[in-house]
Subunit: 359 residues, 2 copies
């Protein structure tokens, strides 16, 4: 079974193709902005999901305070497009990065994150190049064991290091509290807050993160902003997390069934070079909307292996199907453009402008 | 510990960066060509690994008969660069693909693969557009349960369908025999061969595949060519398969340690958007040459999580390390360019010209 739109996509663009429904994109943007507004927390969406200044500007037009990027290459694309309030939520290290950060800071209001003294020692180079102070937030580990200092005392020490540097401004704290662990995160933050206040410092930004965390936006007492990313498209992981329904999934991969070599199996023309091997802890590699009982069990680079044993309806070679990916951010990262639709109409092509920026 | 070359790469390009050693690339090309020559089997390297016409031409200059591609977008880049003997080892379906295949066949000698009648029914459109017959090989499943017919009888039936079509030429068989299963693959092929000969057909091409299979090149009696891909760069998977040593791994990801928030852990600036989540069945996500006891245990999109509990030497924030990826093909697929070096000298930038061609 191939939908009329899928037939059109296959005819005009070929498969595999990434297709975004702009009605859903706009609805997702509005809903999350409303949730942040209701919680009294600013929205600073993470653009790592879409990597498009066009979509970032839709988010800002809907009320977002600014944006979050994960690397300089993303921020450069966004600043070139005129976006001027950018948080890079990452430890930036090295002279090459300081030169680029300095150039960015000369044209946009940049904030960067740090969890160590080596990073802080390097940042003044960027500030000096730009001719003005650079805002720095301290990243705190609140349970994920990713980046982030492990104790409030370390957070306070880094805040003081930043504040002691003429070319830097202590801007606040960046956290990623998740369930379980809210009580612990609150305790961490409260202690860090008291610590910096004891030294006359005030965090202007207290930033929480994550689309799965949207149900808890504003829950951290003292939070000033949230940085969700995936919500603009959503994916199977967000549905599993209970923060989106299938109708909120705005990006589908359209793929063609290219082989049915056995009765219980088939091959899609979307493999790990389209959908990535990132399962995000889910079983199978995406949901096929036309055949929800079919399982994408594994990948070769350009083959998606279908197990059809549980399927009552089985696709034929040539059928075009729609797949909701497990983790949409890493899928979009591999493609130069996506096709935009509204309902059953194709409305254009959107470049993934900040893709391919390794750093 | 940062090597002088790593310091140069970080200074001139930043991290993460993909760096290929051209001395090793040329040595890998020569060694595999010699192995094919010694086995009396033509070499038709799969360019999905490097996606570069520059490197494809080095492979051809060393003696390769032609190249293998996995999709039209790759073949278009290669044909535009003047390469004229191209096998697309894939079921191509749909009018959009037939239009592009026809345009390709008008300027290069194309061969395509099929495992079903639907694909065969579509291919004459491409042949007619190009004004000349199109060569088609029948893909046989020899144990991988990927694409490929499951029985010699089906292979013979498809060969006859192809031969019966005025605009197509039956060109032979494509197989992917692996261990264990050689005896079975030989039996499959022998029976298919006898079957087509009984109908007056002769396979000009009998193609085997895979870099891990290089140790068996020529083992299939009747094989005429082999299509290895990964050998040009090699990776941790090839070392594990026993077909390459660490010194044969020509591509390294250079990454910076950006966080050491705990004594037993650290963060690299290379995550799933650089190294992919494709483990290829190995433990951990790559070998760090400077810290082989360190484990890259998991990823966020731009974070590689280091477990240092087994490491005697532990990197500092700011150190630049070299990583041999588990599966190099999917890593190269995400980047627009790689840095070329010879020993300790940077010699230039190589565009990954056929990257970003989803289809």
């Amino acid at each position: 079974m191939t939908t009329p739109l899928a037939a059109k996509i296959a005819r005009d663009y070929g498969t595999p193709a990434a297709v975004i429904d702009m009605d859903r994109v706009e609805r997702n943007i509005a809903r999350v902005q409303a949730a942040c507004d209701a919680a009294g927390v600013a929205n600073r969406p993470h653009i790592k999901t879409h990597k498009s200044p066009v979509l970032a500007k839709l988010q800002i037009a809907a009320g977002a305070k600014g944006i979050t990027c994960q690397k300089l290459g993303e921020a450069e694309v966004m600043a070139d497009a005129g976006i001027d309030d950018i948080l890079i939520s990452y430890n930036l290290v090295g002279d090459e990065k300081m030169a680029r950060l300095g150039a960015l800071q000369a044209k946009a209001n940049m904030t960067v994150a740090t969890d160590n003294s080596t990073v802080i020692a390097g940042l003044p180079k960027a500030a000096l190049l730009s001719g003005r102070p650079l805002s720095v937030v301290v990243e705190c580990d609140t349970g994920r064991k990713r980046a982030g200092v492990e104790t409030p005392a370390e957070a306070v020490a880094l805040a003081r290091e930043i504040a002691a540097c003429r070319d830097l401004r202590f801007a606040g704290f960046m956290l990623y509290p998740t369930e379980p662990g809210w009580t612990e995160a609150q305790r961490f933050f409260d202690e860090a807050l008291a610590g910096v206040r004891a030294h006359g410092l005030e965090p202007g930004i207290v930033s929480t993160g994550g689309t799965p965390n949207l149900k808890n936006v504003g829950k951290l007492r003292g939070a000033t902003e949230h940085r969700p990313g995936t919500y603009i498209y959503n994916d199977r992981m967000q549905v599993a997390a209970g923060v989106a329904g299938w109708d909120d999934c705005a990006l589908n991969i359209y793929a063609t069934v290219v082989s049915r070599a056995g009765p219980d199996r088939g091959i899609l023309d979307a493999g790990s070079k389209t959908l990535t091997s990132d399962t995000s802890g889910l079983e199978g590699h995406g949901l096929i909307l036309e055949h929800p009982e079919a399982r994408i069990v594994r990948f070769a680079e350009e083959h998606g292996f279908l197990d059809l044993t549980r399927s009552n309806t089985r696709p034929d070679v040539g059928d075009v199907v729609r797949i909701v990916p497990n983790h949409v951010c890493v899928v979009v990262n591999m493609m130069d453009e996506v096709v935009m639709v509204r309902g059953d109409e194709i409305v254009g092509i959107l470049p993934v402008a900040a893709r391919g920026k390794l750093r």
